[in-house]
């Protein structure tokens, strides 16, 4: 090549290397291919979501009104008239119960894994935690059934109720929060922790006032993912709460069961009734909005706590 001729053999200066024009063309081509695949992957991934929303809105749009989400189901078969208030209220019950159980437990486990435990036991516990995330929800349903609903387990016998269902959903939420908490704490600069310890803080003092605050964003993501995950669950509720067409009178025993959007969709789709099928489609749109609202709400809380704490 022409450029190569410029290089003198016994010269001390930095040799100039020849510019490979073919390679520059090739690398631009590969870059184009990579971008193309990334865009395609996004479209293929996003398409089903938009399709589901479109289908559900197209079918269920005539029920998407205030009456639908503010009245209880009535008529025959039940739900043919009225709305889905029972399921929305029930979801609030389940989320609150699951969160009360899972958030402290998950954050505690995550902190233990990242700060307090021994290295070797932690490797085992981390594996266990990942395994728990992978356990199918129907298995959690059976576990919840034995532990909380029947007389056979630890003596709770809450029956088919919001408490039994919520705690079972809490089982699903806990390892997710634990994982995200651990990762969030591990990303905190070591200087925060060392700085606090060097001043004579105990590990708990350092955790409480320095680490938790720095890790808050990650912990919130964990809570968010946990709640997103349980909102759509039906299998754990089949054995622990099932479904209530009215409002609960308590959270345990008879009358303690609650409605749930995912269960409502599951049940309505199984009924031989055209109206219920359409209402199930409308309910799925409501469920999507419900998830969206919870997401926004938690993000807002996250933003506000970061700003004002």
């Amino acid at each position: 090549m022409a450029e190569l001729a410029n290089i003198k053999k016994d010269d001390d200066s930095m040799p100039i290397f020849p510019i490979n024009r073919g390679y520059i063309k090739r690398k631009k081509f590969y870059n184009g291919i990579a971008v193309f695949f990334a865009v395609m992957a996004f479209i293929i991934g996003a398409f089903p979501v938009f399709h589901i929303i479109y289908k559900a809105v197209a079918l269920g749009h005539k029920y998407l009104n205030w009456r639908f989400i503010s009245t209880l189901p009535t008529g025959f078969p039940i739900g043919a008239q009225g709305g889905i208030l029972n399921a929305i209220i029930g979801d609030v019950y389940l989320i609150v119960i699951a969160s009360i159980f899972a958030i402290p437990l998950g954050i505690g486990s995550g902190l233990y894994l990242s700060l307090f435990g021994k290295k070797r036991t932690n490797t085992f516990l981390r594996l266990l935690n990942e395994l728990m995330i992978g356990i199918p929800s129907v298995v959690w349903g059976i576990v919840g059934f034995y532990v909380f609903s029947t007389n056979a387990g630890l003596g709770f016998h809450f029956g088919f109720s919001a408490l039994a269902g919520g705690l079972t959903l809490g089982f699903i939420m806990t390892p997710i929060i634990a994982l995200l908490t651990e990762q969030a704490v591990n990303q905190i600069p070591a200087g925060y922790i060392e700085g606090a310890l060097a001043m004579g803080a105990t590990k708990w003092q350092a955790t409480k006032s320095v680490i938790m605050k720095a890790a808050l964003g990650g912990i919130f993501t964990g809570i968010l993912l946990g709640i997103m995950n349980i909102i759509g669950q039906t299998a754990p509720l089949l054995f622990t709460n099932y479904y209530n067409t009215g409002l609960p009178t308590g959270i345990t025993g008879p009358g303690g069961a609650v409605g749930d959007l995912a269960m409502l969709i599951f049940i309505y789709i199984h009924e031989p009734s055209r109206i219920l099928h359409i209402k199930a489609e409308a309910a799925s749109v409501v469920l999507l909005f419900f998830i969206f609202a919870v997401d926004l709400g938690l993000r807002l809380i996250n933003y506000l706590t970061r700003k004002f704490l």
Binding site: Y192, A196, M199
Partner: protein, 254 residues
């Protein structure tokens, strides 16, 4: 050997192991009360590890093992009866990179008081002010005490860390390359601070920077591969080193 009551910290036959590595090999030295001592040495020679054995920061390192004694005011800090929390209250530490907490300037210093159970608001306010004045930072930050500590420059952050370290009323200050990441002007301010702090504290500094060390030290030590090669008064250390390796180092041949 100096007179007994002049000695603040005495290290006897200190060995430190991490797994199979013998990181500190039979270290013997003492630090005099109200003096500035710099520990020099190339990277990885164990000088930071040594500094961290003085306030037991290595306690949480898994696989670490230590033999020997570190006596502070005549008492072995590795004795079972010693309370680590109380020990660390008595020893302030400043780290290499400024590490203020993600809190306000005020809370960064107040934290040190709160963790030791001080709740009196007036006392805390007064103390925070005093610490900032000691660290020469008060005039620069007095109007924004409740702003985030991250709004300060690197040099100011490091002085905040110094203010934080003296909040708990320590008698010893450990500094791990406190000027390593600072610009020369900020570094110079901190070096001046160290010289004035001698009245109140026994100061032990780990440093890379021979010139800075020469400017502030009363005593100097040279570490190499986990061994203390030489320890002497700064005058002798920098002008007439006894060991060839020390001479090579201070004339920058490492």
């Amino acid at each position: 050997m100096a007179e007994q009551n002049e000695i603040k910290v005495e290290v006897k036959n200190l060995n430190f192991y991490y797994g199979n590595y013998h990181l500190l090999k039979n270290i013997n030295l003492y630090f005099k009360r109200n003096s500035v001592c710099t520990l020099l040495g190339p990277s990885g020679c164990g000088k930071s590890t040594f500094l961290r054995t003085l306030n037991r920061m290595n306690d949480y390192t898994e696989g670490a093992k230590l033999t020997g004694e570190v006596l502070i005011d005549g008492k072995n800090i590795y004795d079972k009866s010693v309370d680590v929390v109380e020990l660390r209250r008595n020893i302030g530490m400043v780290f290499q990179s400024p590490n203020p907490f993600p809190k306000s300037i005020f809370d960064n210093i107040a934290f040190g008081l709160k963790i030791h159970g001080i709740k009196n608001r007036e006392f805390i306010v007064e103390r925070v002010e005093k610490c900032l004045k000691y660290a020469g930072l008060y005039d620069e930050v007095k109007d924004k005490l409740h702003k985030s500590a991250f709004s300060l420059s690197g040099g100011q952050q490091q002085r905040l860390c110094i203010a934080r370290a003296i909040a708990t009323n320590p008698s010893i200050l450990l500094m791990d390359e406190p000027t390593a990441y600072l610009d020369p002007a900020s570094a110079s301010i901190i070096l001046d601070l160290i010289t004035t702090f001698k009245k109140y504290y026994t100061i032990i500094i780990v440093s890379h920077n021979i010139q800075q060390a020469g400017r502030i030290s009363d005593y100097s030590g040279f570490f190499l591969d986990g061994e203390l090669i030489e320890f002497d008064e700064a005058g002798n250390f920098f002008t007439r080193p006894k060991d060839k390796r020390t001479e090579n180092f201070i004339t920058s041949r490492y």
